[in-house]
C-alpha cells in the first residue's frame, strides 16, 4: 500500500470532508490557483471550484471573521493561515468574537483555523511559531495538534465535524518528513480531546505533542538501549480539551513525569499540566515534575541559535535520565 505523508494526510482528510459535506468550504491566501504555500490544497480549486476554494486578500482578521459568519449560517468553513504566525492578526476575532459566541449568544461557530506551525526549519522568528498557549488561555477554542499521519487525517476530519471552533496546528517539520500507510475504505475519525499512548513504558512518562513526540520517541529508544530506562510517551493530540485522565493515568503508572514542548517555557502548557497532576496525583509522584521546553526568547534564524533555543532529542535524554535516577 502506498505511503502517505503527514501533509498528504491532511489534504486527504479535507478532500474527503468536502466530498462528503457540501457545507465545507476553504478560504485563505494563495490556496486556490497556487494550491497553498505548502501545497496542502493543491488540486482543490480544480475539483471543487472557486465558490468552495476561495483565494482571499491578505486579511487574517477578515478570513476568520468571515468564516465565523458563514459558520453561524450553517456552513463549515476551513480557514488557512499561510503560516500560523499570522494568526496573531486574527487574535481579536478569535478570542473575542469566535471564542465567546456560544457562551454569550448561543451561536454555533464550527470553524477550523489551520496552518503550518513550528520550528526546526530555519524559519526565523515569524515563520516558526507555536501559538497554542495564546489560545489555550481563552475558554471557547479547541486546539488540535496532531503528530502522526493517521491523526493528521483523522483529526482534521474530526475538527471539521466538531460543532465548536477548532485551531488545528500542523507542524511543518512533519509535513514531508513522516510517512505511514493509511487504511483504505472505512475511515477512522478519532474523537477530539483524547490522548494516545505513543510508546508504553514503566519507569517514567513523557507527556508531549507535535514534533517533540518524535523527538521524545527517539529519546525513549536511546534511553532503552543505553540505560535500560523504560519510557512511556503520551501524545496529547488535542490540547484543548486536555485529556487529564490520560495524563493522570500515565503518572500513576510510572510515578514520574517529564513534560516536553517546543513552545517557550513561561506560560507554556507544561505549567498547566503540572498543576493538574499536582491536584490529582500528587501522592503518586516519586520525583518532581520536570519540563523540557524552548528557551524564553523569540526564535532566532541561524541554525546554531535555533538549535540552541529549541529542545533537542539530547535534551530529552538528559532530562529523562536525570529524572529516572531521582
Amino acid at each position: 500500500m502506498a505511503e502517505t505523508t503527514f501533509l498528504e494526510a491532511i489534504r486527504q482528510g479535507m478532500w474527503e470532508e468536502m466530498e462528503r459535506d457540501d457545507r465545507v468550504f476553504l478560504l485563505g491566501e494563495d490556496i486556490g490557483a497556487y494550491g497553498g504555500a505548502f501545497k496542502v490544497t493543491q488540486g482543490f480549486l480544480e475539483r471543487f471550484g472557486d465558490a468552495r476554494v476561495i483565494d482571499t486578500p491578505i486579511s487574517e482578521a477578515a478570513i476568520v471573521g468571515a468564516a465565523a459568519g458563514a459558520a453561524h449560517m450553517g456552513m463549515r468553513p476551513v480557514a488557512e493561515m499561510q503560516f500560523i504566525d499570522f494568526i496573531s492578526c486574527a487574535y481579536d476575532m478569535l478570542t473575542n468574537y469566535v471564542a465567546t459566541a456560544r457562551y454569550r449568544a448561543g451561536l454555533s461557530t464550527p470553524i477550523v483555523v489551520r496552518g503550518p506551525c513550528g520550528g526546526y526549519v530555519r524559519g526565523g522568528p515569524f515563520h516558526s511559531q507555536n501559538p497554542e498557549a495564546a489560545f489555550f488561555h481563552t475558554p471557547g477554542l479547541k486546539i488540535v495538534y496532531p503528530a502522526t499521519v493517521r491523526d493528521a487525517k483523522g483529526l482534521i476530519k474530526a475538527a471539521i465535524r466538531d460543532d465548536d471552533p477548532v485551531i488545528f496546528l500542523e507542524h511543518k517539520w512533519l509535513y514531508r518528513r513522516i510517512k505511514d500507510t493509511l487504511p483504505t475504505g472505512d475511515e477512522e475519525v478519532p474523537p477530539l480531546g483524547v490522548a494516545r499512548v505513543a510508546r508504553e513504558g514503566q519507569d517514567l512518562s513523557i507527556v508531549t505533542y507535535g514534533a517533540t513526540v518524535w523527538k521524545s520517541l527517539e529519546a525513549a529508544a536511546q534511553l532503552d538501549q543505553a540505560d535500560g530506562i523504560s519510557v512511556e510517551v503520551v501524545d496529547l493530540r488535542t490540547l484543548l480539551p486536555l485529556d487529564e485522565d490520560a495524563i493522570v493515568a500515565t503518572v500513576k503508572k510510572t510515578n514520574k513525569l517529564l513534560i516536553v514542548h517546543e513552545d517557550t517555557r513561561t506560560g507554556g502548557l507544561a505549567g498547566e499540566i503540572t498543576a493538574r497532576v499536582n491536584e490529582r496525583a500528587f501522592e503518586w509522584l516519586d520525583g518532581p515534575i520536570m519540563r523540557v521546553t524552548a528557551h524564553d526568547v523569540p526564535l532566532p534564524y541561524a541554525p546554531t541559535l535555533e538549535d540552541f533555543v529549541l529542545p533537542q532529542t539530547e535534551d530529552i535524554v538528559t532530562a529523562a535520565r536525570w529524572l529516572a535516577a531521582y
Binding site: Y34, Q82, D85, T304, L305, F308, Y326
Partner: protein, 385 residues
C-alpha cells in the same frame, strides 16, 4: 506637475493580464539632448545608476549563494522593481538626522541608497555572527536608524503604524525630517495598513507611502486583493493626496517622490505614491510561478526593464559620459566580489548568544535546567538549586 502624474489614472484598465502597458514616459528616451530633469546632476544620475546596478548584481550573487545552499532560508528578489526602490529612496535626505524609510523584502535598493553595505546583506542572508542581527533575523530584516532605515517584520502592514509613530515624533519635536514607508499591493489588504495610514493622515504626519503595485502578492493578482483599480484610490479615501506613476521609470518615480517628500516636510501631511511595476521573479526563489500567464514575464523583461530604460535615457540624452556606465558596472562587480570573499567563511553565531538581550534588564535569559545537567549521575533536589 502634481497633476501630470495624476494623469496616469485615466489610462485604460489596470488589469495585469495581458500585461499592463503602463508606460507614461515622463522622460521620453527619444528626446535628444533634453536637459536633465528634476534638478538632478550628471553625478547624481550616475550615483543612482550605481545603486540600481548594485541592487541587481548583489541579488544575482545572493541567488548564486542560495543555489549553493549558503543562504539559509528563503531568498526574495526585486528583479524588475529595482527602479522604484532606488529612485524613491534617493529622494530622501541622507547624512546627519536623516529621513527614515522602512523597506520591505523587495526594497534592497532603498536600503543600499540609505547606506546599508553589501557585506551586511550577504552576512545577514547567510546568518553570520558578524551580520547586523548576529544571525537572529533573516534577509533584509535589519535596521540602522542612524543611516535612516528601520527593518520590517514579516507581518505585512505592521510597519505602517510604526512609521506613523516615527514621523509623529518628527512632528512633535519640530524636526524637518520625513518618513517613507513601502507597502505591497497585497499588504494593503491588512488591517494594520488601514489603521496606520488613517492614523498618520489624521495626525498629518510627515510620511510618504510608496504603494508597490507589482501584479502579485505571492500568487494572488490585484483583482483578488481589492476591488478598486489603483492603490491610489485607497489612499484618497483617507483624505491623502495620491498619484500613480510608472514604477519602472526611474526619473518619474524620483520626481514624484521628491515632490511628495518636499510637501511632507513642509507640513502638508501624508503623501501617497503608487508605483506600477512588475515582479519578475517568483514570490521567493522556491516559487515556480506556475500561475503566471505565459509570456508575461518575458514581455516585461524585454520591453520594460527599469535598469535598461534608465540606461537608455542616460545614453540617448548624453546625460553621463559614455564610459562612465561601464566603469560603474566594473566597480560594482568588484565590490560584490570583495564583499562575498570577505564574509563567506565568517562563523555562525555561538548557540548561547541566543539568550541575550530579550530585555534591557535582565541582560540575558536563563539557560534551561537540562543544559546544566552534567553527566548521568543523579542528584536529589532540583538541578537549579
Amino acid at each position: 506637475m502634481w497633476r501630470r502624474f495624476a494623469l496616469i489614472n485615466r489610462l485604460p484598465a489596470a488589469n495585469f493580464h495581458p500585461p499592463l502597458n503602463l508606460v507614461m514616459t515622463a522622460h521620453p528616451a527619444s528626446t535628444r539632448a533634453a536637459a536633465i530633469p528634476a534638478g538632478l546632476s550628471s553625478e547624481q544620475l550616475l550615483e543612482m545608476y550605481g545603486f540600481l546596478r548594485l541592487t541587481r548584481t548583489l541579488e544575482e550573487r545572493l541567488a548564486a549563494l542560495y543555489r549553493q545552499t549558503k543562504v539559509i532560508g528563503g531568498l526574495f528578489r526585486s528583479l524588475g522593481q529595482e527602479g522604484e526602490s532606488v529612485a524613491s529612496a534617493y529622494a530622501l535626505r541622507r547624512g546627519p538626522q536623516p529621513d527614515v524609510l522602512s523597506p520591505l523584502i523587495r526594497n534592497l535598493g532603498a536600503m543600499l541608497v540609505m547606506g546599508a553595505k553589501p557585506i551586511e546583506i550577504l552576512r545577514q542572508y547567510m546568518a553570520k555572527e558578524t551580520g547586523p542581527t548576529r544571525g537572529r533575523e533573516m534577509n533584509v530584516h535589519f535596521n540602522d536608524l542612524t543611516l535612516g532605515y528601520l527593518g520590517q517584520i514579516s507581518h505585512l502592514g505592521d510597519m505602517v503604524p510604526v512609521m506613523a509613530g516615527i514621523t509623529l515624533t518628527f512632528k512633535m519635536r519640530g524636526e524637518p525630517r520625513v518618513g517613507l514607508v513601502y507597502v505591497g499591493d497585497g499588504a494593503t489588504s491588512t488591517g494594520a495598513f488601514h489603521e496606520g495610514l488613517n492614523f498618520a493622515a489624521v495626525q498629518r504626519c510627515p510620511l510618504v507611502m510608496i504603494g508597490e503595485y507589482n501584479g502579485y502578492a505571492y500568487s494572488t493578482p490585484p483583482a483578488r486583493q481589492f476591488a478598486v483599480r489603483d492603490l491610489a484610490e485607497k489612499a484618497r479615501g483617507y483624505g491623502i493626496p495620491a498619484v500613480t506613476v510608472d514604477g519602472n521609470d526611474v526619473l518619474a518615480v524620483y520626481e514624484a517622490t521628491k515632490l511628495a517628500v518636499d510637501r511632507a516636510r513642509v507640513g502638508k501631511g501624508v503623501q501617497f505614491i503608487e508605483v506600477k511595476t512588475y515582479r519578475r521573479t517568483g514570490h521567493a526563489e522556491h516559487d515556480d510561478q506556475s500561475y503566471v500567464p505565459p509570456g508575461e514575464m518575458e514581455h516585461w523583461a524585454a520591453s520594460n526593464d527599469p535598469v535598461d530604460r534608465f540606461v537608455r535615457a542616460l545614453r540617448d540624452n548624453d546625460w553621463v559620459p559614455a564610459r562612465a556606465l561601464d566603469e560603474v558596472d566594473t566597480r560594482v562587480r568588484d565590490e560584490v566580489d570583495r564583499a562575498t570573499d570577505a564574509c563567506l567563511d565568517d562563523p555562525l553565531p555561538a548557540g548561547e548568544s541566543a539568550l541575550g538581550t530579550v530585555f534591557a534588564q535582565p541582560p540575558s535569559a536563563e539557560p534551561l535546567w537540562y543544559r546544566a545537567v552534567t553527566g548521568p549521575s543523579p542528584s536529589h533536589g532540583a538541578p537549579n538549586g
